[in-house]
Symmetry: C2
Subunit: 198 residues, 2 copies
Amino acid sequence: MSTADANLPTRDRLIAAMLDALRRRGYYGIGLNELLASAGAPKGVLYHHFPGGKAELAVAAVQVAIDGMLAGLDKLLARHANPADALEAWMGGAQKLLLASEFERGCPLATIALESAREDAAIREALAAGFAAIRERLSAAMLRHGVSDAIANQLATLVVSAYEGALLQARVAGRLDPMHETSAALVSLIRAHTRPSS
Amino acid sequence: MSTADANLPTRDRLIAAMLDALRRRGYYGIGLNELLASAGAPKGVLYHHFPGGKAELAVAAVQVAIDGMLAGLDKLLARHANPADALEAWMGGAQKLLLASEFERGCPLATIALESAREDAAIREALAAGFAAIRERLSAAMLRHGVSDAIANQLATLVVSAYEGALLQARVAGRLDPMHETSAALVSLIRAHTRPSS
DNA sequence: TGGACTCTAGACCGACTGGTCTATAGAGTT
DNA sequence: AACTCTATAGACCAGTCGGTCTAGAGTCCA
């Protein structure tokens, strides 16, 4: 039942398997045995690389997901002159991924964010810092394009909110429409607030 | 460990307990025993009222949650002249609930939406129909206030997306700021698109 | 050749999972 | 009082959960 790239080091295969599980079913939705099967790894290996077990693996996976999103976002913001264009590309990428997985793979951060409780401090902190960093990137980009500080903050938070909510709606609907409409509304809003170029 | 209102009929206590569990930890995050304990009900009673077990109870809970949201939304849209004001009140209510539960109780629909897979057809359908109905209400309200059909649809979807995403961000952050900022951005956007009153 | 160390491997464990089953309490009807 | 039907109650079950533990494979250095 090994689905992960067998060439990856074991530790990375574990993280990849956890990421996939978080996208599809959430932290509590997958069992350790199923997860290890899809990583093609026996049990001992998990506790060798992650002494803290499932929870520690989840934290590592969340960290990887955040790093990936930040890197992707930075690349798009660097490539596109206007933040609105970068946003459009960002949403487009998410749509492609969702469609390619037949509406099964959403955002790995969202599931565990909603499942986590106050006592899961490590996960909550990683998630909070991650979302804050993403908002920060978006806000800074808009600041650079003439948006006032207060408005840039509002818009950045709105963008992240809408991104997660649109993925959620599209997933249950089994159609991309919610993402299309959210993206369109968001892009024209950002475009209206930023200077034509830079 | 019974937390639910003991005066409620057993069936309603079960639904209430499931709703609370969905808000806090999600469908897979709570066990049947814990759920029954918090409902103050023995096992047999669950399978008497819901022969389909946990899954059927979850569908019923989702249905109740959707009905509740629609009723609340209708009331707000009827009470406020402008959809922007209704939206502001709606977001404000969600903020109050989240804060009162110390950032533990979010939206019960979001968790199970992200945990559900394609084969959970009953839940997916209930959720998809529910979100569509909410979008429909919002869209209709904006149409009545002079927004064009296409834009009203976009804005309604954006509002639902942002609502869910803002709750998610506020939950992990342990602060209301993400909701405040999302709400502010959304309200001023809607206000700009609607006629001053009606 | 023989440690020393990292990593892989999976048998095994108690606790708990969702679910079934039988017993019975109570209300309504005759 | 006897019968019926709905609802409550919890013992019980096989399967799975996350986690521990011991054994061995592979690699590097002496």
